[in-house]
Symmetry: C2
């Protein structure tokens, strides 16, 4: 047997440290203090259940990646004002509202390693508090006084909802194509990443070209991020991932790893996937068998390769911007996203 | 026994015809053609389930009272532009999204005499299509290019969601006070009526005083409307009301008729109401007993008297506006609302 370095120890003399979120976290640390203050302030309500439920999710260890992207992109384009704090909070509220509704739709019981709000307070409360946060996000956008930002984020919200409905329709359909799937996650996940990045160029009054570059950066990062999530769902467990391992499998969700493994599988394998996606394979043994098939067919490795492809496009979209701390941090954030769970 | 004129025949020589919605329907007929075109156009999506589900509710015989109010109030303040068509459609989309989520929260099976969307397509689809319509409503508002209208409607949306959560919290609480209940319906129902009316003065660039008068008109009409709905829930059946009779009762909803009957009841009656609101009285006999108690205590009649009180305040709020077809139609719309189900 070959000696293998333990996972958590950097091998001596390694050429480059593992990519991390540390540079972007440092870049936006002060700004995120402002954003978090807005988030805490605006999730308040005279109805105690609202901050209680919203706070459970908002305080629940999310990385707040989307508002961080808004701030880092604002730094990249040299924005010196303070309107982006409210907008970044609005983006996080849209994301939080979406998560609350998602967990109801999926019947999820665990997120970020904690019980979901729908399990604790019920589906009704989750739906309504999601609606509240969604409304609050638009109030915040109105305060930032940019119709263009309102246009971008209201459109992104509609696209997200369309993507969710599209995914619901595709649910349990084993014949979903890779193209259809990319369309779904482009709407469901990447649209908000794209909008979160783009609006920083809008408040900074930068060119349409800059707006588009940041949109492309966010969109590709979002797709890469989602594809890695899809792979991790079969490769991790609740403790490390913060949600139930195999959730996608048990929900009959057709994600890219499944699409690839199904296309590459034997007739016997295809029959297994059909039954699984139809909801007839939900035991731990079934999940283990599925994970085995995904590895044998290279579906997991190739999903990650696809993620690296989109990640590289995100990095390339930054080419037009000046070198500096913001560009380096946004680049490393992509490298981190596509290096997860290796 | 005294001879009583049959319900559906006007007694000869009656001083005044029954109030009706005909004047306001005639007033806004052309404008509603424009609004309906926007509604049909903007509920479209490349995801077929969205227009299918949304169309079920939107085409399902709703009176579109809220957009009608926007148009009628725009007429009242002499607005001559066309921005109010999109705004009226946005108001209807917010209302429709709220209904879709409401039916999920309440587990309702019948609305306007038809099966609810959540029964036909499931809760998940109803939640997500509601989110889509809500996003679309903001897109429409952005197109109308008024940050002030966006402020009013995003705030109204947040207030509605707060009211829904408040009602969820109060559900099955027999000790809800009349004041608390008015607070709930003020948020849940009246806030959107108020906003629908107010925004017409905003697009017409009228004074803050005009805005406030229309807000007060809409708010009081909304409360009157909801109180009559509460009374009708115990006085009607699915065929005439278009929703299940006794729904509120079986859902353990504490509405004003129940609050009044509980306060006025004997110890035995109070025990009945407690058990009913706790969910232990759901048979047809229980509903009949409840309706009997509501009549004996005068709770139904007094709920309707309260509705007339708020309706009168709505009418009084119009005093500052010039007489004419719009004012007459808006006045009769209130009279119609409070005369329903007599």
């Amino acid at each position: 047997m070959t000696a293998v370095a333990p996972d958590n120890v950097d091998p001596i003399g390694s050429a480059k440290a593992e990519p991390s979120l540390t540079p972007i976290l440092n870049l936006v640390a002060d700004g995120m203090g402002q954003v978090n203050a807005v988030i805490i302030d605006r999730m308040q309500s005279r109805i105690p259940l609202i901050p209680e439920l919203a706070g459970h999710l908002i305080a629940g260890g999310g990385k707040r990646l989307r508002p961080m992207l808004t701030l880092a992109c604002a730094d990249l384009v040299g924005y010196a004002g303070d309107r982006h704090y409210k907008l970044a909070a609005a983006v996080e509220f849209i994301h939080t509202a979406t998560l609350l509704h998602d967990d109801v739709v999926d019947g999820s019981g665990l997120r970020r390693g904690r019980k979901t709000a729908n399990i604790i307070w019920g589906n009704s409360a989750s739906v309504l508090v999601g609606d509240f946060l969604f409304s609050r996000s638009f109030e915040l956008m109105v305060e930032a006084e940019s119709l263009k930002v309102l246009h971008i984020l209201s459109n992104a919200s509609a696209v997200i909802a369309e993507g969710e409905v599209n995914q619901l329709t595709a649910q349990r359909k084993i014949d979903t194509s890779e193209e259809q799937y990319l369309d779904i996650i482009g709407a469901k996940t990447a649209a908000l990443f794209a909008a979160a990045c783009r609006i920083s160029a809008v408040v900074a009054d930068r060119s349409e070209e800059d707006e588009q570059a940041l949109d492309i950066y966010g969109r590709n990062l979002g797709i890469a991020f989602q594809l890695i999530d899809d792979a991790i769902d079969y490769e991790s467990d609740g403790a490390t991932m913060g949600k139930d391992a195999g959730d996608d499998f048990r929900d009959g969700k057709v994600t890219l790893p499944v699409i690839l493994a199904y296309a590459r599988g034997s007739d016997e394998d295809k029959a297994f996937w059909k039954a699984a996606i139809a909801g007839h394979k939900i035991s731990d043994d079934d999940l283990a068998h599925a994970t085995g098939l995904l590895r044998q067919t290279g579906a997991i490795a190739d999903t990650m390769a696809r993620a690296r492809h989109y990640g590289q496009q995100a990095i390339d979209a930054l080419a037009m911007f000046d070198a500096g701390a913001a560009k380096a941090a946004l680049t490393e954030a992509v490298e981190f996203a596509i290096a997860r769970a290796y």
